[in-house]
């Protein structure tokens, strides 16, 4: 195993990841700045100043990777878990293993589809631009000032921030429905938000080879019937997402749930009937 050149000043980098990533690190550090990192004298500034040798020994023990479990980051390589409604895949959270050294994270909007319509809606990065929820909610209920307010202008008393849960995921997220103008965008954002959970699901199924995680291996999450996207409406009923026009959906959606398909059986007919009885 090659010893990474940074070992001297950090002293703790016997981590196995370095063998895969060390090329990238050297590449990145030398290529980017032209600096020899040693020259900057990054030293482990811990109190008690342990010697590098001791740290190496210590790290060696703790750095043993258990068994055959893949690195989480390796898992994400090349993954493009897809929601059925979303046209574009793309690894928003690619952890930099196969991208250029100087820009480890590809920009979201660099992966956009070629523009077909006049104003293609922008994909949302969580928490960017940094605007507080209170302000977003207030603005969302304002009519837009510009001329082109076909979609945005309405939404009186519609739901804004809704909680999103996913079966099997350890915590809830929130999305602002006003950020989206179509189901495609919503599902694309949810896919990104919950990608890590779906991966762990696949991981637990024991996929052995890690360099071939292509779309064909991971089921399309909506059409592939592993998960379905459902929502609770104002009446408290659980409905399948996608059955009603977008505006109607945002006006009535109280919360979202990414449900296992097995549990969602029986939802579809109810949604249809409810729709019919409404119209």
């Amino acid at each position: 195993m090659s010893v990474p050149e940074e070992q001297d000043y950090v002293g703790l980098t016997e981590l196995p990841s370095m063998e895969k990533g060390s090329d990238k690190f050297s590449q990145r550090s030398n290529g980017t700045t032209g600096l020899n990192l040693k020259a900057t004298e990054l030293r482990l500034g811990l109190p008690g100043s342990e010697s590098p040798e001791r740290d190496v020994a210590g790290a060696g023990k703790s750095a043993v990777v258990c068994g055959a479990k893949r690195g989480f980051s390796d898992t994400i390589n090349g993954v493009s878990a897809k929601w059925a409604l979303s046209g574009n895949g793309g690894s928003e959270t690619s952890l930099g293993k196969d991208s250029m050294p100087n820009s480890p994270k590809p920009l979201l909007h660099e992966k956009k589809q070629p523009q077909i319509s006049a104003v293609p809606p922008k994909e949302q990065v969580v928490g960017w631009p940094p605007i507080r929820s209170f302000r977003k909610n207030s603005m969302a209920s304002n009519p837009q000032k510009n001329g082109d307010d076909e979609a945005e202008a309405e939404a009186k008393g519609g739901c804004l921030y809704v909680k999103v849960s996913m079966d099997g995921a350890p915590y809830l997220r929130k999305v602002d429905l006003k950020n989206f103008t179509s189901y495609r965008l919503l599902s694309s954002a949810l896919e990104k938000m919950f990608r890590c959970f779906t991966i762990s699901q696949c991981g637990s199924h024991g996929i052995s080879s890690h360099d071939n995680l292509s779309e064909s291996r991971l089921k399309d999450l909506l059409h592939g019937s592993e998960y379905v996207l459902t929502y609770e409406d104002k009446d408290g009923d659980w409905m399948l997402v996608g059955d009603v026009p977008w505006e109607m959906f945002t006006a009535s959606c109280k919360r979202l749930r990414i449900m296992k398909s097995s549990e969602a059986i029986g939802l579809a007919p109810r949604a249809m009937e409810k729709c019919k009885s409404r119209n």
């Binding site: 990841s17 750095a63 930099g96 480890p104 922008k122 928490g127």
Partner: protein
């Protein structure tokens, strides 16, 4: 050893200390010697805890037995932007309970980004006989029922301020719980409430409270009602209107104008939801008195905004939407020579194309025309190094500079270069800069500048910037006064973090999300630094210890603490515990 410290009786020292109010000075006093520590701790009346997990309620109560006022902050700042999952923590309950038994004479509680229940509110209302001030800033977890308890039981309440909290609005009737005999209210801020509050109850309350100086209504209060309310509170200094819109009625207009004039102390206006141009001129008669104007919810077109702002020649603080445009900011620069703080918010942050003519030019104008300008928050869609350098040279007295170029990693639009030089000029010229937020295309170079020049910098926010660990290293090793660092989507990783581990104990907190820090580094840091809580927000199932060391963590929050690991970590937050 000379016993000089004991030459004065304790009472004399205590009397001297009673003139010292600043927390830093008080902390310094307590370090002089043991007896001063003892005297000081018995007479400290007010405490600020910047991170509620840095210390435990038990420790605070034990050290300071006679507190009257406490301020606590909970969640990390990035929780405002949805980056912190639900149920992460920041619970006020253990604090309230500890204080309820220890401080029967507690007067003031101020919480920010904490979770508070109705039960806690009820406990507050019943435990503290002289309770006076409740400020809940960006808090959540409670409903109007809890507020009803406060209204009903806190006989001496002076301030009730719910700024930007998420309140479950069960009914507007909680306001009626203030008894008829209630007279002490000085400040009321209910601007965050969604539903209607009873105007009758409001009127009754205002009639009974002649000392009311600050009133911030919620959007549901219609403009016509505002006139009545203003009539009953002639001593107002700060007013937040409700919805500033109505059918165009001349008598409403003139009544409103008269009502504004009738409040002879009125200096600050906010609210203005859905502001109609027709009613803005009602403010003109008092415009020269105004020192603070928050129009950030007024979706009014530029000319009307500009006219209003130009009338307010003594304005010190302006919050406005980008509808004001460059031309409006130029007018501001000409009219408002006393301007100290400017915030410009985006009207269409998620749109692809600019919807208003607001660019870097507006900010440059203000920097040129307003010599007192110190604090800026500016959202825009283009920036240049030249503009930033100009701003920096114009305003070396800047103390807070937060720039948000809406598109991540956007370069200088003129030269297509990174904005390193521009931000570098800001930190170089503005020697008293305490807070900085970066945006646009930035390399490690900008962090080199920040580390070299940002010696007074206390809080730094970084997103989509940098090339390597060097960036983080420059900041951690160079910024001597850094207290809070929050980073998202930057290629900063283990090396810089571990090499600057000791620095982390001198800071309040570090947030890193979507960076390149590995799980192994977190374990190591947690292992070596027992006075840090290194909390990883894990995003996959399974015992964290089985996660390979090379895994990159998605979210990391590190903070110094003397309280050890927190007891209320949810399942998705992991902290090193083993040997």
């Amino acid at each position: 050893m000379p016993r000089i410290a004991y030459a004065f009786p304790d009472e004399v020292l205590e009397h001297v200390f009673s003139f010292i109010h600043s927390d830093q000075d008080r902390n310094a006093i307590s370090l002089v010697c043991k007896s001063w520590y003892e005297i000081e701790r018995w007479c400290r009346r007010s405490i600020f805890v910047g991170n509620c997990y840095a210390v435990s309620p038990v420790m605070v109560v034990k050290r300071f037995p006679k507190l009257r006022s406490i301020s606590l902050k909970g969640k990390p700042h990035f929780a405002d932007f949805n980056l912190v999952p639900e149920d992460w923590g920041g619970y006020a309950c253990p604090w309230i309970e500890a204080m309820a038994s220890a401080y029967p004479w507690l007067e003031e509680i101020r919480l920010k980004r904490m979770v508070l229940t109705d039960e806690s509110l009820e406990l507050i209302s019943k435990s503290f006989k002289n309770f006076q001030v409740l400020v809940l800033s960006s808090c959540e977890g409670f409903s109007t029922d809890g507020l009803a308890a406060i209204a009903a039981n806190c006989r001496n309440l002076r301030e009730l301020d719910l700024r930007e909290s998420e309140v479950e609005d069960l009914s507007g009737h909680w306001l009626s719980q203030f008894p008829d005999s209630f007279t002490s209210l000085v400040s009321l801020n209910i601007s965050c409430l969604g539903s209607e509050v009873s105007t009758c109850a409001l009127e009754r309350l205002l009639a009974g409270c002649p000392n009311l100086q600050s009133l911030r209504l919620n959007r549901a209060v219609p403009l016509e009602k505002l006139v009545n309310l203003l009539g009953r509170s002639p001593n107002l200094v700060e007013l937040g209107t409700g919805a500033y819109t109505s059918e165009m009625q001349p008598d409403v207009f003139s009544d409103l104008s008269r009502a504004f004039v009738g409040c002879k102390q009125l200096k600050s206006l906010s609210g203005f939801w859905d502001a109609m141009p027709y009613y803005l001129p009602a403010v003109y008669p008092i415009s020269s008195r105004l020192t603070s104007l928050n129009l950030s919810y007024a979706t009014t077109e530029s000319p009307y905004l500009v006219k209003l702002v130009s009338e307010c020649r003594n304005l010190q603080r302006l919050w406005v939407m980008d509808y004001i445009e460059d031309s409006g900011l130029e007018a501001l620069a000409v009219s408002c020579k006393d301007l100290r703080e400017l915030r410009v918010f985006p009207s269409d942050p998620f749109g692809l194309e600019p919807n208003v003519a607001l660019t870097e030019r507006g900010l440059v104008s203000v920097s040129e025309g307003c010599p007192e300008l110190q604090s800026v928050l500016y959202f825009c869609r283009q920036m240049s190094n030249a503009a930033l350098v100009t701003i920096a040279r114009n305003r070396p007295n800047m103390t807070r500079f937060r720039l948000c170029i809406i598109e991540p990693r956007k370069p200088d639009y003129l030269t297509l270069q990174p904005l390193d030089a521009g931000f570098g000029a800001i930190v170089e010229h503005c020697k008293n800069l305490r807070r900085l937020s970066l945006s646009g295309l930035l390399t490690d170079r900008v962090f080199e500048y920040i580390g070299s020049y940002g010696k007074k910098l206390e809080m730094l926010s970084v997103a989509f910037a940098g090339d390597s660990d060097l960036g983080l290293h420059y900041v951690l090793s160079g910024c001597d006064n850094l207290r809070k660092l929050e980073v998202r989507d930057c290629p900063f990783g283990d090396k810089a973090l571990l090499a600057n581990a000791a620095k982390l104990e001198t800071m309040r907190s570090l947030w890193m999300s979507s960076c390149n820090v590995s799980f192994g580094a977190c374990k190591l840091l947690g292992q070596k630094m027992p006075r840090l809580n290194v909390e990883v927000i894990i995003d996959e199932r399974g015992p964290p210890d089985s996660m390979p060391e090379s895994c990159l963590v998605e979210k990391l929050y590190i903070y110094r603490t003397v309280a050890g690991p927190r007891m209320d970590m949810p399942g998705f937050v992991w902290r090193y515990t083993g040997p």
